[in-house]
């Protein structure tokens, strides 16, 4: 596959994923401005970075429905990420978040997912106090 073919396939995949996202959980959810932690940009310039990706999920009082919505949002994001550029560090059940190890291409992909990604922050390291 040529580079052009790859981009076409990639674009189609992103479009398909977008349709899936809108179909399964996007309707009725307002889009917020996506916030990228400046530290993440700096880190991915130098290689890979562990990040926490906050997702947008519609509110519901039903815990099971909420967890299902979180899982769908996580799946949708992962489906739209170039697999060789990102790996899952942790998935969470009760909070709309993913911990990922990403490079610059994956960050670029995340930035395009304004329908579901709210923020990308550095997975900071904390000390005992």
């Amino acid at each position: 596959m040529s580079s052009q073919d790859f981009h076409i396939v990639h674009a189609l995949a992103l479009l398909l994923a977008q349709v899936v996202v809108l179909t399964f959980f996007g309707s009725g959810v307002a889009q917020a401005e996506l916030v990228i932690d400046p530290n993440v940009r700096a880190l991915v310039q130098a290689g890979r970075a562990r990040v926490l990706v906050t997702l947008q999920v519609g509110e519901t009082a039903n815990e099971t429905l909420r967890e299902q919505a979180i899982q769908r949002a996580q799946d949708a994001v992962l489906a739209r990420l170039p697999s060789s550029h990102a790996s899952v560090v942790r998935r969470y059940t009760s909070i709309p978040m993913l911990a990922l190890d990403i490079d610059a291409a994956a960050l670029h992909a995340l930035e395009s997912m304004t329908d579901v990604v709210v923020a990308v922050t550095s997975d900071s390291r904390l000390k005992p106090q």
Binding site: V35, I95, A99, R125
Partner: protein, 789 residues
């Protein structure tokens, strides 16, 4: 107690390493700016009094202030150490021949521990060019036994609340579950730790990035820092009873969920010095907290402890990714206590402590001042002791450490204690109680501008849990309905009242104030006698009980009078019996035959009424009256009622004489009713009836056609329009106060005076016919008239 000399210092030095603003361990030494105060007066006095005293002398360096070695280059470090050794040597030379003994010499800090007599102390005082100050080498008792009483936790234990039945989550470097201080406490375990190639490796026991179940939350293997979680756990929930020591953690009865979230970082650049070191990814901390959230259905969790952090924020950092899980926990009543951080900042807090929904904790010393290293800010939630805290460490030992890490588990343990007492309380309710009852401590450090409450657990408990001090009245008889006032503290609208054991129920509970409730207690007719514990329960689940607050008691019955106390055969005599101990269910009986009691009605505990029916053939003579309570108590009045021969009552008549309008008032003296502006008519009535009569009502009519006056003692008018009665013109009224009803006896030939208020001005004019109708106690009436002259 296991002892590891030097370890405490090691922990302190470790803590110093992780502090951005490191604190010299001798920082507790008071300042001394002049040579005249080299030796503190109390040190001098004690040396003179006791002959010898252990002191610490601070060496005055030629270069000025001592510089922490971590900030010095190799050459400067050597120079400082040489200065310390040189000056120390000069001091010891000057002490030669004086009473002294060197206890410890230090290479890296300008201190010298010596035991000195008064002569050596004088020499030190005279050596102000070499000695900056001399202070007593104080004995530092382990401070967990100090900090726990300081915050009032031991007082709460005495009330039965030590965290029993509650679980605290220690999200840290893992917990040594086999430590005697923590024996049997670790009931839930998990580990979230990450391997990142070239950066970090997991410290989960299974070598994976996560693990749950027994052993998963074990203390991580790095000797330099993995003591931390065990130390923190001991402060929150350590139990000295199982460890053979005299002190315990704040919630000594609580259980522990150990969650290990630290990873081993292998690059010195990540560790800020020597590697490896333990650091925690935020993603792993979130996973650990999510595990806490996940097990909430099976564990009665009160709080999660995060004695960790990083960075600094001068305002709440609600964009921090940890906020979502902290909010989840808070929404189900679990607080997340987070260390404020050890940067010594007066206006910022580390993350995630800066999250507004976390319970951020700053550190105080045992002297109740803000610890020099503690971060503070206007959005810090609480303060707690954090300096020199002696608690469990790995290897079954104990050690001392300082930091907001140590302050935080004081709050975490406090939460367990309070949740045990108030299971339904929300995080906000408990936080509010702690904030409103804590000891306010101002940040007096340079740049400090914040005052925050240092937790006072016993006071917070009092604010959350009602306390019952007294109930009034505090007893009732079976079948009684007793309105009571309940006095205490912590009452709220919606407080309920219950009594135990059974037999007494509370209803109509009404909130009067935080210190008073009213209620109606209904004592069952068959209630057993004895005390009842009264419990007030608030909507948050907090309750307070006063043991033996209310007693069911059969009252002691007595009879003091029976009125009337006689009657004739065939008569039905309503009687009033006075005495004490009367209550519902009380009965009346008479001895012998011929007289029976019915219609017993309890007017009050001191009066009842009954109807005595005397049979027509009843034998004449006295009867004993017995009053018996429902509980069996009784009293008898011997010859309390007598059956007497019927009195032949002759016809009665009444004569009436008008005395004129002699005064503008009804009656005289204390019982007189005041003037109305018109003189009142007075009449004198004289009875003619053998045996006399008891008059029960009187009515006076005037036939003035314009407005005929009618005055009644049975239905008096308002104001001064009344009919008064007295035995003489100036005698006191015979009318009952208030009702103006009459019930007085008049002998045959006796007379009485009636007073009628003149309310129209014409009733007593000349020529008016005035008619007085008297009703006697037997129901008969007589009428007499006169014409006003």
């Amino acid at each position: 107690m296991p002892s590891r000399p030097g370890f405490a210092l090691g922990l302190v030095l470790f803590a110093a390493l992780i502090l951005i603003a490191s604190v010299p361990f001798w920082a507790r030494l008071p300042s001394a700016d002049s040579a005249s105060s080299v030796v503190a007066p109390e040190v001098r006095e004690r040396a003179l009094r006791e002959g010898r005293i252990r002191v610490i002398a601070e060496v005055r360096l030629p270069s000025g202030q001592h510089v922490p070695e971590g900030l010095l280059s190799g050459a400067a470090l050597s120079l400082q150490r040489n200065d310390i050794a040189s000056v120390r040597s000069q001091i010891l030379t000057r002490l030669a021949g004086r009473t002294h003994r060197v206890l410890r010499q230090y290479g890296s800090v300008p201190l010298l521990a010596i035991e000195v007599g008064p002569d050596a102390l004088s020499e030190l005082e005279a050596s102000s060019l070499l000695v900056r100050r001399v202070v007593e080498d104080t004995v530092n008792a382990p401070t967990l036994p100090q900090s726990v009483p300081l915050i009032g936790a031991d007082q709460v234990w005495n009330k039965g609340f030590d965290g029993t039945g509650v679980v605290v989550a220690i999200v840290d470097t893992g917990v040594e579950a086999s430590h005697p201080f923590l024996a049997g406490k670790v009931v839930e375990e998990a580990c979230y730790s990450s391997t990142a190639t070239g950066v970090s490796s997991t410290m989960c026991p299974n070598g994976q990035s996560q693990q749950t179940g027994p052993g998963a939350g074990a203390s991580c293997p790095l000797s330099s820092s993995c003591w931390h979680g065990t130390h923190v756990a001991g402060i929150a929930a350590g139990n000295g009873g199982s460890a053979g020591v005299t002190f315990s953690g704040v919630a000594k009865g609580a259980q522990i969920m150990a969650v290990q979230v630290f990873s081993q970082f292998i690059r010195a650049s990540d560790c800020g010095g020597s590697a490896p070191c333990a650091l925690a990814y935020t993603s792993d901390i979130i996973a650990g907290l999510e595990r806490v959230y996940a097990v909430r259905a099976t564990r009665n969790l009160s709080s999660a402890n995060l004695s960790l952090g990083g960075g600094l924020s001068t305002s709440p950092c609600d964009s921090d990714p940890t906020k979502a899980i902290i909010d989840n926990l808070r929404s189900v009543g679990i607080a997340t206590a987070v260390a404020a951080g050890n940067n010594g900042s007066t206006n910022s807090v580390s993350a995630p402590g800066c999250i507004s929904t976390a319970v951020s904790v700053g550190a105080t010393t045992k002297s109740d001042v803000i610890a020099s290293y503690s971060n503070m800010a206007s959005f810090v939630s609480l303060l707690a002791p954090g300096s020199s805290i002696y608690s469990s460490i790995i290897g079954g030992a104990f050690g001392t450490a300082s930091g907001t890490s140590m302050a935080t588990p004081h709050v975490t343990g406090t939460w367990a204690v309070l949740k045990q007492a108030v299971p339904g309380a929300s995080v906000s309710q408990i936080l509010s109680a702690l904030q409103s009852t804590g000891v306010l401590i101002a940040d007096t450090r340079s740049g400090g501008a914040t005052t925050k409450p240092r937790i006072q657990v016993d006071q917070a408990l009092a604010a959350l849990v009602p306390s019952v001090d007294s109930v009034s009245p505090n007893q009732g008889a079976p079948a009684a309905v007793v309105p009571v006032t309940i006095n205490g503290t912590g009452f709220v609208s919606g407080s309920t009242v219950s009594l135990n054991p059974t037999g007494v129920t509370a209803s109509n509970v009404s909130f009067v104030s935080a210190t008073q409730l009213t209620a109606t207690l209904t004592v069952a007719a068959g209630a057993a006698t004895g005390g009842r514990d009264l419990t007030v329960t608030n909507p948050n689940g907090g309750s307070g009980t006063l043991t033996g607050a209310f007693s069911v008691a059969v009252p002691s019955i007595a009879i003091t009078s029976v009125t009337p106390n006689q009657g004739a055969p065939g008569a039905t005599v309503p009687v009033t019996i006075t005495g004490s101990g009367f209550a519902a269910g009380t009965t009346v009986a008479l001895s012998g035959t011929g007289v029976s009691a019915s219609n017993v009605s309890i007017t009050s505990a001191t009066q009842l009424t009954a109807t005595l029916t005397i049979a027509s053939g009843a034998a004449l003579g006295a009867r004993d009256i017995t009053v018996t309570g429902s509980g069996g108590s009784s009293a008898t009045m011997t010859a309390g009622f007598t059956v007497v021969a019927p009195v032949t009552v002759g016809p009665a008549s009444l004569s009436l004489a008008y005395n004129g309008k002699v005064r503008d008032r009804v009656g005289q003296g204390e019982s007189a009713l005041g003037p109305d502006g018109a003189p009142d008519g007075t009449l004198t009535a004289t009875l003619s009836a053998s045996g006399g009569r008891t008059i029960t009502t009187l009515r006076l009519n005037s036939d003035w056609p314009t407005a005929p006056g009618v005055w009644r003692t049975s239905s008096p008018g308002t104001g001064n329009w009344v009919l008064g009665v007295a035995t003489s013109l100036d005698g006191a009224l015979l009318n009952a106060p208030g009702s103006m009803a009459v019930n007085f006896a008049v002998a045959d030939g006796g007379s009485f005076v009636v007073f009628a208020a003149d309310y129209q001005g014409g009733e007593f004019l000349s020529g008016r016919t005035l008619t007085l109708t008297a009703t006697f106690s037997d129901g008969s009436t007589v009428v007499a008239s006169t014409i006003a002259p």
